[in-house]
């Protein structure tokens, strides 16, 4: 049974500037022990998530809302297991598929078909699965013969179609989505929406970050409002979204 549980999760993102990362600076620092430490090791640290505690259960469709930089994407990355938390514990069960930046992880010089395989493997599909789903993915992307051409010849809309088709073909128990709407032309948008809905149906937990309150109301049953890395409100979607709308509006 899929779940995600966070207990007092805090996540600090170190921001290394060019000098902060250099060995020279580290060596120089060794010589002056007794001087006041500059910041935290000379590295600027941003607290992206601050003491988060909540639990998502099976059947939850959670919408993440909040301002830019509130920690939505970082939270998704932490739940995906990409960023391990600095403090606290994050436990989960179920196969996680993150769809964070759908155009990454593609190879310019490979053909569409080869990219399907590359991206499929990256997202954790087995070779057999990739082969089984290749056709379906190809059909969904509507790219036809273009799939035999290298990716660099694709328009940006075509890339998005392909990336979206592969990413959404993976069977996930926990699906983490970051602003994936707004892909391709109008006709593809409809298809994409239908596909996402279908995907939501298959997955046990869906967490999505989105800026459209309307969309969130439509697909989610719960909402998590984040502010400066903290949970401002978590609960029923109607309640939280209207609170958020009121706060933003007034």
């Amino acid at each position: 049974m899929a779940y995600i549980e966070l207990k007092n999760v805090t996540l600090d993102l170190p921001i290394y500037d060019v000098q902060g990362r250099s060995l020279k600076k580290q060596v120089l620092r060794m010589g002056r022990r007794n001087r006041i430490a500059e910041g935290n090791d000379g590295v600027i640290v941003v607290r992206a998530l601050d003491d988060l505690t909540f639990r998502f259960e099976r059947g939850d469709r959670v919408g993440l809302i909040g301002h830019n930089g509130a920690g939505k994407s970082t939270l998704l990355r932490a739940m995906a297991g990409i960023y391990p938390p600095t403090a606290g514990t994050l436990s989960r069960e179920g196969k996680v598929v993150p769809l964070l930046d759908i155009s990454h992880g593609m190879d310019e010089n490979s053909t569409g078909m080869q990219n399907i395989r590359l991206r499929g493997l990256l997202l954790g599909m087995t070779d057999a699965e990739v082969r089984e789903k290749q056709r379906e993915i190809a059909e969904f992307s509507e790219l036809g013969d273009y799939l035999d051409l290298p990716l660099r010849t694709y328009s940006s809309g075509m890339r998005v179609r392909l990336a979206f088709a592969v990413s959404t073909a993976v069977d996930a128990e926990i699906l983490l989505l970051d602003e994936v709407m707004g892909v391709g032309d109008a006709s593809f948008m409809h298809k994409a929406e239908a596909r996402l809905e279908q995907l939501h149906g298959r997955a046990e937990i869906v967490v999505l970050a989105m800026h459209s309150n309307k969309e969130i109301r439509k697909v989610c049953n719960k909402a998590l409002w984040m502010e400066r890395g903290r949970v401002r409100a978590f609960g029923d979607v109607e309640e939280v979204v209207s609170q958020y709308a009121a706060a933003v509006g007034g």
């Binding site: 990362r21 250099s22 020279k24 990409i82 010089n109 954790g124």
Partner: protein, 260 residues
């Protein structure tokens, strides 16, 4: 810490389809749209060995029939070792888009480097085989020892690459330092000259672990059975190096996504 990296290693090896694919992609990209493709590797290596061979063979007053096979196997194998470490040092840095996208095991990026360089070796090795055919195999007895020799050699290159990749992700000067060190290593290690040629400064060879490493793979090809000492040194390096590399990887595995 050790368990963490061992789990990562196991998962990485299990997803071999991914790293073999990633390794190939890089090579295909480098030689995309060229007629001979990756065989450019063979051609440029062949030209280099011929020119080096003629110049240094004459300089050192060596017999070409002996010197060319020696030089070819030296350079081809040294390329494997140095490239594995050089590319290893940027393995994580260059894979940042992948690492930030999916929670994949991390050592696949090192395995990708290993795989890619084994493919390159296969292309370059054509020259060594060609020269062995032309000038004849010195000793059929020592030849099979090339296989275990290569294994020890690659295992050693791999732990160094693991460490180099990890530390370079944190300290961005390291790739440059490593490149400089490799350049120096090329000159002080008996690659273009024979180990016994350094009679007055023989300590350079005796105390250089890389001399033993190259000896363990090159020896069998040119008809010199590697000595027991060579085996001890090279196997010893792997036995000590691997746990260190795995411990460090285990310790900093979780920090890696923050560094890149």
């Amino acid at each position: 810490m050790l368990t963490l990296s061992l789990v990562d290693l196991k998962q990485s090896i299990a997803s071999w389809r991914l790293w073999t694919l990633l390794g190939w992609l890089e090579i295909r990209q480098r030689y995309a749209r060229s007629r001979v493709g990756p065989f450019w590797l063979t051609i440029s290596m062949g030209v280099m060995i011929t020119s080096l061979g003629v110049v240094y063979g004459t300089l050192f007053g060596q017999k070409m029939t002996d010197y060319l096979p020696f030089l070819a196997s030296s350079i081809v194998l040294w390329t494997l070792f140095s490239q594995m470490i050089l590319e290893g040092s940027t393995a994580y840095i260059n894979s940042a888009p992948y690492i930030r996208q999916v929670p994949s095991p991390k050592l696949i990026f090192i395995l990708q480097v290993v795989w890619r360089n084994l493919i390159v070796l296969a292309h370059n090795f054509v020259i060594v085989i060609g020269l062995l055919i032309v000038f004849g195999v010195k000793s059929w007895e020592s030849l099979p020892m090339f296989i275990p020799g290569l294994l020890v050699y690659v295992l050693n290159a791999m732990w160094i690459a693991m460490l180099a990749g990890l530390l370079s992700a944190r300290f961005r000067d390291l790739p440059q330092i490593i490149a400089a060190l490799i350049q120096i290593a090329f000159y002080v290690t008996p690659i273009i000259f024979r180990p016994e040629a350094l009679n007055r400064f023989s300590f350079i060879v005796e105390w250089n672990p890389l001399a033993y490493l190259i000896d363990v793979v090159r020896g069998p090809l040119i008809g010199q059975m590697p000595s027991a000492l060579t085996w001890e040194v090279t196997v010893g390096m792997a036995v000590i190096g691997w746990p260190i590399a795995l411990l460090m990887t285990g310790r900093y595995l979780k920090r890696l996504p923050y560094w890149i």
